[in-house]
Amino acid sequence: MRTSRIVAVGAAGIAAALALSACSSGGNGNNNAGGDNTSKAGTIEAPDGAGKTLTVWSMTGDLSDDTIAAINKKFEADTGAKVKVETQQWKDIATKITTALATDTPPDVIDIGNTQVSTFAASGGLADLTAYKDAFAQGQTWLGGLADPAMVDGKLYAVPSFGATRTVIYNKKTWEAAGVTAAPTSYDELKAALDKVKAKNPASDFSAFYLPGQYWYAGMQWIWDAGGDIATQQDGKWVAGFSSSEAQAGLTEWKTFQNTYSSKASQTLNTDKPDQDQVFADGKAGAIIGNNWEIGAITKANPDIKTEDLGTFAMPGSSGKTQPVMLAGSDWGIAVKGQQQDLARYWVKIAASPDIQKNNVVSDGWIPNSTEAGQAALDGGTLTEQQTAFFQAAQNSKATPASGNWASLEDPGMKQFFQSIASGAKSPADAAKAWDDTVNSTLNQ
């Protein structure tokens, strides 16, 4: 059944591509690819890869082993080539990928966090895929938060792999014990609920809402909700926005919320040491802001907590709407210096195919790379109660500035900026003033 669909999609794709044009090398001179009626849409057909090995860098915690195996299975069956998957850790990943892309034998395909694609694209490490855009899209409309950072100066440098958002994950039993039985729908309701949870659990190491100070992905939600932004482009220049009155209001509210409902220790921590899922699983937190996969991590860390004990809801904002969330996720990039471009493109095409997206990616708990696949998942009624909140939160999403210089600001810059405010080491105004200077000079260099 699945095979026949793949064949159908593949056949349709090949036919469409054949009808459109002949192959294009997708070189740098091709400025108007896809823009006019002589567009050179490339086709991606299974090349003969017998005896060859494709190296794929996958990030730890991204697509599941099963999904990668499903992609590899089809790839190996179609091309005869082997796939070597190397799982990478997140620490210092920007440095690691940059150095890997610069070598003469880079990995062929790389899993890149969506916020970091523009960095590698701008520096010329990723192959220009503009000519193959339609062949990769396979009739689907990609999520903007994944596709936009992959487009630099109108050229496509990476193909959306999957998306993810964060919602509130809370322990229903802890909340019920404190007398809260329904998920809050407004910011005030949330605070009222947390006040009850906090009153019921007075221990100093208990957090009604565990929100580590360095967790800037979550902190940004307050700034966006208040109408602020990291940076905006004005007359071709980036202007940092943390000092704006909106961002200041958001930061002040975030600090109050963090200091009120999260343990004092958490002010200077990130989500990894200690692992916030472990903190939650140990009963030291009533709620966290987390990704979908963290539900599995919590139930694994403490088998006494069952999946049905956990509730999720999109974080309400003081604006009255849900807080905008960062659309996290990954894109597949192809190293410009890779020696097997045709094989790499074919592998990425399979990974981005509706079949993999609608089945494997959704069952991994991720949001698929296209609006069609996402809608299909919501309509299909197969989503669990918890998953639905994630798909809903994704409706109101934001991304980091699409600048090649952005990535170097994330670590340790953004972490330390939010930490200094949460801990009270600096006032929101002082911290923003210094950080805006750094953001401006970095983005505009």
Partner: protein, 326 residues
Amino acid sequence: MSTSPATIVAGEGVAAAPRGRRPRPPRHFSKQSRFAPLWLLSPAGIVILALIVAPIVFLVYTSFTDYDRRTLFTGEYNGVGLQQYIDIFTDSQFWHSTILTLLFTAAMVGGSLVIGIGVSHLMTKLGTAMRYVVTIVLIFAWGMPNVASAQVWGWLFQPGYGVINWMITQLRVFGDQTDLSWWNSTPLALINIWMLVVWQAVPFIALTTYAAQTQVDGSLIEAARIDGAGEWRIYFSVILNSLKPTILLITVLSIIWDFNVFNQIWLTTQGGPDNGTATLGIWSYLVAFNQFKVGSGAAIAVVTTVMLMIISGFYIRSLLRSGEDL
């Protein structure tokens, strides 16, 4: 540094006199023997050329260019003359990092020397069994990779869960410090890193000094005691004086190591908060490999190297001089 050869020549009159008179074996300048040293040296020489000299030459060259992230892929860069150096010297972060590096190095070298030499003296007073225990403990601390020890340090001092914070709270002197964040304030972060570095530097210093201290001539101590010198007087005037060459050597090595401390800082604070613990090494890494301004980072590294050469040059000179005096 340039005066050190002169020092050697001056000292030779006394120290090297017997050696100078020794009759030389007859030399046969056959073709083979003339080139033999070259052949013998070449494997090591090639490795040094490829892995040390070439990168340094490239580093210095890069510091005169605008080499950046883009260059890694395209290979394009432009010579910018001294611009990178001008930019560094007008950057307030450079002066902050320089002063921090100098003071922090002095604190680490001073701390590890005082504690290390103290431990060495302690070991001379211990019984055999206890001395073995201390030696083994020291070697364990020394043998731990500093990446691993920085990780353990992170756990020990973690706000909320750290054992050290718990112990400090148990002292009931400083109040409840369970949630103390050592890496959120510059002074505490520096104290924390200082402890980590000194803890791992002490074993080498203690064991080396102890080895030297066992060689101190007992008759000197006895003579001093007969002359009525107290134990403190004996320690400072006789023992420490005999240990001088060893201590000087250790000092030079410690300065070089502590000046370049990187892992322990990067793995605990990443140079934060607000570049408060960004020594020259950390700052140059941030510039070169976080912002990928490789040219600028190279210039910082060159300046750092020159500073280190000047400082250690002074000590190496004294070291050579004291070595000749023996």
